[in-house]
Assembly symmetry: C2
Homo-oligomer: 77 residues x 2
């Protein structure tokens, strides 16, 4: 299984992406972890080091895909 991490912050844009994009992924091939950076700020550093600049973002096999724009990482600190 490949790992997918979905970083979000509970914003409306984040929820839309979670409900639609994340829901469309193939869970037979991908192990999906959802991280709420507002609730768990200890993961912000790891997200930034992976290249996440805003949420919602999908970290897929090491590559970052920013989906629309909900909030910047600086807004979450």
């Amino acid at each position: 299984m490949k790992k997918v991490t979905f970083y979000h912050a509970g914003c409306p844009v984040c929820i839309s992406a979670e409900q639609q994009v994340l829901e469309a992924l193939d869970t037979k091939r991908f192990d999906i972890e959802v991280v709420h950076l507002g609730d768990d700020s200890s993961r912000i550093k790891e997200a930034e080091e992976s290249g996440v600049k805003s949420v919602p973002a999908l970290l897929l096999d090491g590559a970052v895909f920013h989906i629309n724009f909900g909030a910047s990482m600086n807004d979450l600190k």
Copy 2:
């Protein structure tokens, strides 16, 4: 099957999103169409009317998800 349309323009950011995000979708539940707006400019109007502002973008069940930023729609005209 739900319909997914992936709009792109052949740019490096587009190709990355196509190879990774699109590849991760569940093709058992989603019927995926890939539209290259550089090659097929007749589809630009439809994409804009759906809310696509830049490529690569995923139109999923009527909702638009812009993935990173490759090129704006105006650059494709």
